[in-house]
Symmetry: C2
Subunit: 152 residues, 2 copies
Amino acid sequence: MATNRTETWLRKLKENGYRLTASRKAVMEVITSSQFVLSPLQVYELARKRYQKLGLVTVYRTIDKLVELNLIQRVHQPSGCQGFVPASMGHQHLLICTECGIVSYFSGENESINPLVKNVENSSGYSIKSHWFQLFGICSDCQIPQKTDSTI
Amino acid sequence: MATNRTETWLRKLKENGYRLTASRKAVMEVITSSQFVLSPLQVYELARKRYQKLGLVTVYRTIDKLVELNLIQRVHQPSGCQGFVPASMGHQHLLICTECGIVSYFSGENESINPLVKNVENSSGYSIKSHWFQLFGICSDCQIPQKTDSTI
DNA sequence: TTTTATGCAAAGTATTTGCACGGGA
DNA sequence: TCCCGTGCAAATACTTTGCATAAAA
């Protein structure tokens, strides 16, 4: 079942002259509907449940396109950076649970980050183009000892 | 020539029961004396100028040890995360020039980041364990059009 | 002398490319 | 029909492991 987000994505693909194929649909639906960081291999395994003939290579190629269209983003973590999540709308930052891997977004530009960036810009002489800000922690569900595992 | 930092590193290696070898010295001196993010392969190439017999495998193994001893840290960038720089003392953040790759450090905890982290912690219910904050921009040297390239 | 560290070769992973076929538009 | 997209196989990184030798302590 395609979510609203998938619809949007499919439209955006079309707008950019890409074809709508079963493979792409399967890959998009998997990433769209996941709250967790997924590696290409995980995407492949999950998407094959929706479209048996899918190949891993196509997953890589589709991921490239989705990144290019700014529909998904690569997530960097201490454990590696081969994971992807849907791109947040506007500029948002990631909050990642190191227990279950669930990802949420937050923003905090004006109040805190922008002034700091300005400070650094002034004192360093750099022209600052972008920033990364990510938080790692334990989500409320994972703080309850009994419930540590998760499904995608 | 060994810098002061290299001396410190060699001492720390010794303290932790590791042997001081020509290979390790070469690797450490290269990373210590570079202002730039270096990949294992780059470290290998540079360190071989100091110690011809060095093997790439030893570079990987030495990097592991240096990370473990908290003497170097992995740097995450949009282009990938196989680079390393000396670990900053205390908790600092990275400012990376996307033109020449030079890395510098800044701090900005109390004034801005801590309150934001607290906010997110309260509103999300997460127990936040760590954060990443990195800035990307163009350093003052690279802002002068004539001088864009760099050497390591 | 003892034991760690090294370098080489080989084995794993992860990702990309070449190419003929299949399926969207 | 036309041509993009696909899957397979192979190629290419990148990194780790096994093992006999070299070298630090």
